[in-house]
Each structure stands twice: as structure tokens, then as C-alpha cells.
Subunit: 418 residues, 2 copies
């Protein structure tokens, strides 16, 4: 039985690699036509997809409400998936872009050309929309994809996969372009993560535990989308009205996402002017405050912040607050306690701003703006496969370009090495 | 004892991380001054370095000649190390480069800025020159480095490290910028590879076994410099004089390096015209030929090539030769048996050339040139830390730019997310 599983997964990966050779050289027009047909197939098969989804929901009825909300599909959500694919079809094809070209002294012409990575495995939780989103982004960027979704969404994923695959078949393309692991056996992931001969990249999308598990057992390079412990630092030279708006937005507008603020740092000299009004506003919005001793002198009702608080991604209406001596302490705190995701300074002082932007070691550093803008769509990338907290290959919002690599094409006229 | 080792390595990594924060924001002029002083310190301390090297050589006298050759230093080699550092000082600083900048509809100005990676660990064999080369490249690209060389070169490395570090100290910079693992205990590497909280990237430089070991036990992202099984394909439309020169150069000019040709593919219709002269030339140069059955009809003296031959990096005057039906078979063979390093086509037919360049899935694909040009210096990068056979982050020759990542600096004026 285990040998069968191993062989099955390996065959899937082999098929994905073979298909990737075809996909790498497919004209943009063909890829876009397939994407449009994938969107149409989702709409055409929506009854089947909804039926499968109801089956998944019925089997998950003991799960928390937020879990069910992520799992559940309706007509509107299927429409959104289809629109997502149509949007990807409209984006510029990254494959084949000439990144740079130059001539060497001996007359070689070197071209650095953007190319697909090859085969990408995506391991995600029970969110069926990820199935369509990732299939679309990988197809457009010229990569075969192996999808492994959470077991609770297996029926929904199978139905979505069937629809997507009908579009692939319609164009006479190899079915290995898009692959779904059809078993819910957990061992399948272990097998998958050892297939570094076939798979070029693994992207785990989910909680910290999932990512850690993937990193510890993968022989394939992993791009990680860890948590976001994002900060806003209110400087002594901040416009405090602006600071209030930015901090409120960063915490309250959508607290459950990775680019929301989890920790607010305030310069000592701004604290007395800024914190009373700000904390009152947070309190009114139902935000629980966990403050440092100095903060609690201003807001006696606040809970005490522990070391652990400063390292916690609440994803909820909870905020740690710390009063700092100055910008150096703020930068050191962020680099030490943060998750190198998104951090913002509010200040009208250009020197302070530059210092913060240069020294904070995060994917996205902001001046006078909410951390909530860290997002492929907000950045103008037109799509997003996630937000990398890695420094290698891709950092911050990841879209089509981040799903590519490059190759050097060297054009000669008989050159040999001296 | 093992706990002590663990603590010592962890302290080294912590120091490297702290130093990297200083280094990331050091002006180019300071880095270049340090590099020049590092070069001067090597020359000033050459007697000590040579003395330490003689100790290493004495302890390795039972090792093969090629091993000793890589380990041995003399005045000339120390001078080359110093010159290497001076050359790195002359290169353009990659840190701070504005890769791209754009405005969003809501008035955010986004800048994608090149930044150091942070802390890089380099694990290499007993080649003392790597100590100075890697220290220089990492310093210039703004990264702290942790060096772990082969145990047979420990005395040489300690002496070189001492010289380099004197230049760091002279400028009042933290000694954590350049770190050498001073123990030869093999467990040190295992400890190092688990420190993903401090180290951002591991680059193993050495044989396949070393790299595989690092990949299988590292929790830190690894950029791999695997073997080079490089091909030249002589097409039916090749200029056969040019083909002969290119193939001879690719095999014979320096057979022991990764960009040398290990396998020659010849179109069926060119074989009778091309192979007799070519193989005679190889024979005269002492190249052992391992041919497919068709090749052996032309050169009866050739050994028979096995499946294993096509997957072997000889690094020696040995060549496998295969006659193929056409370009499709050549491309499939290269993608299947090759190591995705460097492959060349010799042809005067533009369609064939383009097909080859697009479809061969290698870091460097050549038209009418020797594979021997895959090299940072030959590509005009001014330096080289290795040649990546990975597709993630860096592919092909790696120099300063490949030792960097990027960050997004987002300049706002109070923007909040709607």
C-alpha cells in the first residue's frame, strides 16, 4: 500500500516535469485561451462544485466557524474564482522577458532571459479557491503545478480540478500541467517533499506549524510565508493625526491577516500627547491593549505585555504597545521581535525616515502609510500567490514574476576559451 | 563538550547577525577601504600564512597530488588572493541599487531596493584561497559570512582569517563580519545547519557528496553548485570546422572543471563527415572516447558508452559520444541526462538554434560557442562565488548581485487601506 502511494505520487511528479517542458514554450495566446476556458469551465460546472462542497461542509460540521467560512463555496465565490483566472489571463506574460543583454569583449552576446521555474508544489489548507488561483498563476508563469489541499476540502478540490482539467484537455495539452493529489493520506506530503529530482519549488500556504513541518522534511527548496508580526512606530516628529489614522487602520481594518499591525511602538516624547486619544479609540473599537509599564501609566486599564506578547501574531483585535527611548530602540525592537514582514514609521523628519527604511530588515518598510498595503494587488502586481517572509528568491508579495527564474542564452560565432 | 560546541557555534552565528546589521548600512567607501586593507594584511602576513600552510601540507602528505595542489599556497597564490580582494573593491556596490520604482493610484511611491541577504555560511573543501575570496565577496555585498573550510586546511585558514580580521579591527568594525569556525569537529556543521534563526543562506562549495549532505540536513536555504554534465550538440547544419574547434576546446582546454564538455551529441547526417576527423583529434590529445553503437562503427577503437556514462561528470580526458536522430532527441537527451549547467549547439540554422536555446532547460545555453565560458569573470561579473545549478534565487554564475536580496521601501503621505 505505501509502495503504491509512493509510485503514484512519483508518477504524478514525473508527468508534471514532462508537461512543464511543453508549457515552458507555449505561446502566451494559448495560455490565455486556456485560462479563459478554465474560467468558463468553473462556471459551467458550478452545480457539481457546489454539490461536492456541501459534502465537504457536512463532514466538517464540528469545525470552528472561521474554518467553515474558508471552506464554504457559493455561486458568488465560484464567480470570483473564474474572474480571478480571467484577470490572470490579462496580465503580461513574464516568460521570455529579456532582463538584460550585453556583449563581451570577445563578441559573445549574452541574454538573461526570464524563464519558468519548472514544477511547483503548493501545499495549502482547506480553502478550495486556492486550487483555482494557484493553478492559474502557475499556468501563466509557465510552471506545472502539483496541488495538495487540506483533506477537509478534498471533494471541492476534486470537482474544481475536474473543471480546470477539462480546459487543458480541450486544448490538447498534457494533463500533467495541473495535478491534484487525490489521496488525503498524510504520507503523500512526505513522499512529495522528497522528490527533488522532479519538483523545483514547494510553497506551503497555511499556518506556522504547516510551514515548519514542510521546511523540516523537504529536500526541495521552500519559499515560506510565515507569520506577520508587523509594527507601526510613531516617531517624536510624527504628525499625530496621521499616526492615529494609520495605526487604527493597520490594527482594526482587517485584524485577521498577516499585514495587520500586532505591535505599536511610540517615542517617549510623543507618548503623552498621542497615547491617551489613540488608546481610547482602540478601546472603543474593542481592541484589547497589552502595554509596557510606561503605557500602563497612561492607560491603567491595559493588560501587561509580556515578552511573549511582542513575539505573537494575534490575528485578532489585540495589540501590544511599547514606549521606546528613540528610533534606535524602535529599530532594534522590530529587527529582534518582528517577523521581517511589514513595518511602518510615522514621522515628518526625513533623516529619521531614511534611517528606519534602511535599517529595518523587513520585506516591506513604510513611511507614513498603513502596513495593510503589503499585498500583490495593492502593489500593482495584478495577482498574488502569497507574501514571502524569505529573503531568498522572492521577498514580500509574490506574483507572476516571482514564479519565474532566468537562463542565460549566449550567442556566439565560434568563440573558444583561451 | 557537545553542549559547549553548540553554544560556541550559536554565539558565532549571533555575532554574525548583529554585525550584519552594521554592515548592511556601511558606505561603499568604507567597505572598499576595508577590502584594500584586507589585501595589504594578506601580503604583510604572508610569512605566517605560508608557515601555517606548510603545517597543513605536512599533515596531508598521504593525500593525492591534486588535493595537495589545491591546498598548497606560495607567494604567488597569496598575491593572487590579495589582488582578488582589490578587484572586488573596484566592483560596483550592489547594495542600495534602485531595481524599480513606481507610483500606485493612491499616491504611494514604491521602491524595490537591492539589499544584503544578511548572514551567509559557506562550507568548502581544503582550498585556503576560498577563505579570502568568499570573505571579500560577502563583505562587498553587505553580508556577514561564516566560513567553514576543510579540516586539512585549518592552519592556513586560521592564519588567513587572522590577517583579514586585523583589517576589520583597524576600521573599528565588529569582528562578527567575518567568522571562521575554528574547530575541525564535524559536528560543527550539523549545528550550523540548524541555526536558521541567525543564518539566511548556506552555500556548499565542493563535491556532490558534500552538497547532498548539506541539503539533507539543512534547515537553512541552500544554493547548490552541483556537477556540470555539459553537452555540445553538433547539428546537421553545423559549420563542421567551427564544431571541431568548439568541441575540442570544451573538452580539452581544462577538463577538470564543471563547464567542460562531458558528452558530445552529433546529428546522424553530420556524423560521417564530422566524427572521423574529430575523434582522431581527440585521440591524439589523449581523450578516451566512450561511444554509442553507431559511433563505434565509425571509431572501432572507442569503448562502449553505458547509461551510466551519460550521467557521469568525468572531470577528466574522457568523453561520451552519441549520434542522435535529430534536434528533438538531442534536446530530450540533454534535459534527461544533463545537469542543467551549460549546453551548446553548433549550427548555422537559426530555427534550430532558437529551438535549442528555448527548450534546453539549463542555466546557460550556447549557440556556436564553447561551454567553457560559463564563469563569472567571462560573463563580465568581475568575480565569482560559484556556479549555481539551482533555479531558485540564483542560476548560473554567481557574483555580487546574486549575494543580495531586495526590500520594498514604500513612501506614503498618510495612506490607509480602504
Amino acid at each position: 500500500m505505501k509502495e503504491n502511494l509512493k509510485k503514484e505520487i512519483e508518477n504524478t511528479a514525473k508527468g508534471a516535469l514532462e508537461a512543464s517542458r511543453v508549457l515552458a514554450n507555449l505561446p502566451s495566446a494559448v495560455k490565455d485561451a486556456v485560462l479563459k476556458d478554465m474560467a468558463a469551465a468553473l462556471l459551467k460546472n458550478k452545480a457539481d462544485i457546489l454539490k461536492a462542497n456541501r459534502k465537504d461542509i457536512a463532514a466538517s460540521r464540528t469545525k470552528p466557524k472561521a474554518f467553515i467560512d474558508r471552506l464554504a463555496l457559493d455561486e458568488e465565490r465560484i464567480k470570483q474564482m473564474a474572474e480571478g483566472l480571467l484577470n490572470v489571463a490579462k496580465l503580461k506574460d513574464p516568460v521570455g522577458e529579456l532582463i538584460r543583454g550585453w556583449d563581451t569583449a570577445n563578441g559573445l552576446h549574452i541574454q538573461k532571459v526570464r524563464s519558468p521555474i519548472g514544477v511547483i508544489a503548493i501545499i495549502y489548507e482547506s480553502r478550495p479557491n486556492v486550487t483555482a488561483d494557484c493553478a492559474g498563476l502557475c499556468l501563466k508563469s509557465g510552471n506545472s503545478v502539483i496541488l495538495r489541499g487540506g483533506s477537509e476540502s478534498i471533494n471541492s478540490n476534486l470537482a474544481i480540478y475536474k473543471a480546470l482539467n477539462s480546459a487543458i484537455e480541450k486544448h490538447g495539452l498534457p494533463s500533467g500541467l495541473i495535478n491534484l493529489i487525490k489521496t488525503t493520506d498524510r504520507k503523500a506530503v512526505d513522499v512529495l517533499l522528497k522528490l527533488n529530482n522532479y519538483i523545483d519549488l514547494v510553497i506551503p500556504r497555511g499556518g506556522e506549524e504547516l510551514i515548519k513541518k514542510v521546511v523540516s522534511s523537504s529536500r526541495i527548496p521552500v519559499i515560506k510565508h510565515y507569520k506577520g508580526i508587523c509594527h507601526v512606530y510613531v516617531d517624536e516628529w510624527a504628525d499625530l493625526n496621521m499616526a492615529e489614522k494609520i495605526c487604527f487602520n493597520a490594527k482594526v481594518q482587517r485584524p485577521g491577516v498577516c499585514n495587520a499591525m500586532e505591535s505599536m511602538l511610540v517615542h517617549r516624547d510623543a507618548a503623552v500627547r498621542f497615547l491617551p486619544g489613540m488608546l481610547k479609540k482602540f478601546k472603543e473599537a474593542g481592541v484589547e491593549i497589552r502595554g509596557c509599564p510606561l503605557t500602563r501609566k497612561i492607560a491603567k486599564w491595559a493588560r501587561r505585555a509580556t515578552e511573549k506578547d511582542y513575539r505573537t501574531e494575534y490575528l485578532d483585535l489585540i495589540l501590544s504597545v511599547k514606549i521606546v527611548e528613540g528610533i534606535d530602540e524602535a529599530i532594534a525592537h522590530i529587527n529582534n521581535y518582528g517577523s521581517h514582514h511589514s513595518d511602518s514609521i510615522v514621522t515628518e523628519n526625513y533623516d529619521e525616515a531614511l534611517k528606519f527604511l534602511k535599517r529595518v530588515d523587513s520585506a516591506c518598510v513604510y513611511l507614513n502609510a498603513s502596513t495593510r498595503f503589503t499585498d500583490g494587488n495593492q502593489f500593482g502586481m495584478g495577482a498574488e500567490i502569497g507574501i514571502s517572509t524569505d529573503k531568498l528568491h522572492a521577498r514580500g508579495p509574490m506574483a507572476l514574476e516571482e514564479l519565474t527564474t532566468y537562463k542565460y542564452m549566449v550567442l556566439g560565432s565560434g568563440q573558444v576559451r583561451q
